[in-house]
Symmetry: none
Subunit: 166 residues, 2 copies
């Protein structure tokens, strides 16, 4: 499988990501196995670049699981998590609110969910509007109450999406 000569290949990370995703698509297994050193040499980069790609593009949040073993004959396995595509997101959403709801972090989350095609751009913008601080002015709520209500509305609305699926 060649990657050289492709046009519109902006950077190494994108190339490697695409390559791995092709492998996964072609594989009949639930996972693929690579060798870090080998892959790095295929793309003419330092081995740690592979770790970077795995961290950025094949994280749990993005629906992948990575296992590895060091030493002679070591390997890296990359699983695609098919089942329950949305369940991990439920967990991320729950974990994001420690004690108090944080709109800024939630906006980041929405961005990522859109990148991952879990929600559409319109849905992301809609949810952003729902957690916009300005909207909650002048209803006699304390800061704390606003955060709680934002969280409640966000959770209820998001659950609606996760429940239905695409």
């Amino acid at each position: 499988m060649s990657w050289e000569g492709q046009t519109n290949m902006p950077n190494l990370t994108d190339c490697i990501e695409e390559y791995i995703k092709k492998l996964l698509a072609l594989s009949t297994e639930r996972y693929i196995e690579i060798q870090r050193r080998e892959l790095a040499s295929k793309f003419a980069c330092v081995p740690s670049q592979i770790n970077y790609v795995l961290e950025r593009r094949f994280s749990l949040e993005r629906g992948y699981l990575v296992e590895s073993r060091r030493g002679g004959g070591g390997w890296i396995r990359i699983y695609r998590i098919h089942q329950g595509h949305v369940q991990p997101w439920r967990e991320v959403i729950n974990s994001i609110n420690g004690r108090v709801f944080e709109p800024a972090k939630t906006r980041q989350l929405l961005k990522r969910m859109h990148e991952e095609k879990i929600i559409s751009m319109r849905e992301a913008r809609l949810l952003e509007a729902v957690i916009r601080d300005r909207v909650y002015d002048s209803y006699g709520m304390s800061r704390e109450q606003v955060r709680k209500l934002q969280h409640k509305l966000f959770s209820e609305a998001m659950e609606e999406l996760l429940k239905v699926g695409y």
Copy 2:
């Protein structure tokens, strides 16, 4: 100078705007992709000039949507947005103004908007969740305040959809 009286001397912003619009016209995609640095150097200006043009001439209000990514191999994507037959609905929604917000009637409206393909089913459900009475319990708001806030949230969220178009 003689040319001053002839016609408005186009400024940098106009030139860049025109250039981008040509690219969009020639593109077969729904969007075009540029590099800020590269475009700036083509027009011999500072990169932030590009941001200025995008902000002024390619805003949502004008029917464009801009996405970007930083870092090595970064890019800026400019989408042309189609706002179809959305204005009448905006007016319907505004006409809710003045009176007391009525969740039941609004649910009807959502249903119709979905039938008319103005919004998706997921979006309708999302908005339904936002105006669900139960959600607003126990935040120390009066009935009247809840209605006002529901209305506010609904309008803001819906406007987000109408603004973007499909």
